[in-house]
């Protein structure tokens, strides 16, 4: 029995995702619907999309939420995709808001419904570096509404510019703080770079 328990524990350690791997909770409500190919993508529509994700929670590696204004599974252990809770993480929220494709070479506009569980191939560092056909690096000084600031570990989108040095940032920040709009000073933080989405139509 001891050997079995030891191997079980070692197996979880090996997987790198711990016992939470076994969770199948909020994601049971999610789907794998294909995205809708769109010809338009406006910054105010992107604001609406991200704004609607507020209060829906945060899930490391996630990208699925509903619109009931409640995080169905708050306070999961951090950095574990296997907890399968509600919400996107920072890069998942950005990916869906920016209507991107799971293929990095496609720069078209793909609308993902909230309950479509998709994260996309980019982590925060990939966004910061402008990886992928739809993304590019922008000067922080000129970053505008629904452009983003990204570091190696986090990305948040500019919901509104502020006159006081910082910005109102819409972001999926952490399990404890969820997805919301926060006043942040990423624009002046040397760890963050500016990044934008090609292809806005308005």
């Amino acid at each position: 029995m001891r050997a079995f328990v030891a191997m079980l524990a070692a197996g979880f350690a090996l997987s790198g995702v711990t016992g939470a791997q076994a969770y199948h909770r909020f994601w049971a409500n999610c789907n794998t619907d294909p995205p809708t190919f769109m010809t338009t993508m406006t910054r105010d529509a992107a604001q609406d999309y991200a704004n609607a994700a507020r209060y829906e929670g945060y899930q490391w590696g996630g990208g699925c939420w509903n619109y009931d204004e409640v995080d169905s599974y708050p306070d999961d252990p951090p950095q574990q995709p296997g907890t399968h809770g509600e919400g996107g993480d920072c890069s998942g929220l950005t990916f869906k808001t920016w209507r991107e494709s799971t293929d990095t070479w496609r720069d078209g506009r793909y609308y993902w419904r909230a309950l479509r569980n998709v994260h996309g191939p980019y982590d925060a560092a990939a966004f910061r570096d402008g990886n992928g056909a739809p993304n590019h690096v922008v000067a922080k000084a000129t970053a505008g509404v629904m452009d983003a600031f990204a570091s190696g570990t986090h990305i948040g989108m500019v919901f509104m510019r502020s006159l006081y040095g910082g910005d109102q940032i819409v972001e999926a920040k952490c399990e404890a703080c969820g997805t919301n709009i926060f006043y942040r000073t990423y624009r002046g933080d040397s760890a963050y770079g500016g990044v934008g989405r090609w292809g806005w139509t308005g």
Binding site: M7, A10, G11, A13, L14, S15, G16, V17, Q21, T32, W60, G61, P78, Q79, Q80, P81, G82, D89, C90, S91, G92, S101, T102, D103, T104, W105, R106, D107, G108, N117, V118, H119, G120, P121, Y122, D123, A124, A125, A126, R128, D129, G130, N131, G132, A133, P134, S151, G152, T153, H154, S190, A191, Y192, G193, W198, G199
Partner: protein, 220 residues
């Protein structure tokens, strides 16, 4: 520049390439990515040892690491260079030991990165353990197949990490007290941005310590 409008012709080209390609399935490869003869790990039949060595960073990651990250890494930091059958990588820690970085090798399908590196990832360290495998599915190999990279945390006593491939096991040495960056072209689900790695960890003489599947998802 994006390629959505070129999709039909790209798809046709892919079919032609696939039709002309051949090979690639099953069997132990005789060479690593850089053309070197592939050594075998004696305790594991049909295995291939990925080249691994510890070097001074000395600007070696400048081509893949963004400026803010370069500032977090000491110029004389130790890095682990790995060259395997499907991929190559560099791994090193931040100056304060709180983060681990990897440069992943391959082709950037969007054409905006230049060989040998197609992506850089960063993970948070808890001691010598990385909290998330930092899966990367952006890169492609020379045959344009997706390559998945992920960190594996060695268990206590592990000296070698084996990753099951089609027809053989690729073996990575645990080096410099860092998580081991492994690569595969098998078990990748691009639709869901996940990948599964069948991993076995061995001690110094090749005794199996643990075996299981690492299910990784792109995150953060």
């Amino acid at each position: 520049m994006g390629l959505d409008r070129l999709m039909p012709s790209a798809a046709a080209l892919a079919l032609v390439v696939a039709g002309c390609g051949g090979g690639g399935g099953g069997g132990r490869p005789s060479r690593l990515l850089d053309g070197r003869a592939a050594a075998q790990f004696e305790p594991v039949g049909g295995s291939v040892i990925a080249s691994g060595r510890v070097l001074d960073l000395d600007g070696g990651a400048d081509g893949c690491l963004a400026a803010p990250d370069r500032a977090n890494v000491a110029s004389d930091a130790k890095m682990v260079e790995r060259i395997g059958v499907d991929g190559e990588s560099l791994t090193f820690a931040s100056r304060d030991g709180s983060m681990v970085y990897a440069c992943d090798g391959g082709i950037d399908p969007a054409g905006e990165r230049h060989l040998p590196w197609c992506h850089a990832v960063v993970g948070e360290l808890d001691g010598e353990r990385v909290l998330d495998p930092r899966l990367d599915v952006i890169c492609r190999d020379r045959r344009r197949r997706p390559v998945a990279y992920a960190f594996v945390d060695p268990v206590a006593g592990a000296r070698w990490i084996g990753v099951r491939k089609d027809g053989y096991v690729e073996i990575y040495e645990v080096l410099a007290g860092l998580p081991v960056r492994v690569a595969t072209v098998r078990g990748i689900d691009l639709e869901n941005d996940t990948a599964a790695f069948e991993v076995t960890q061995y001690d110094a003489v090749g005794r199996e310590l643990v075996h299981g599947e690492l299910e990784a998802a792109v995150a953060g």
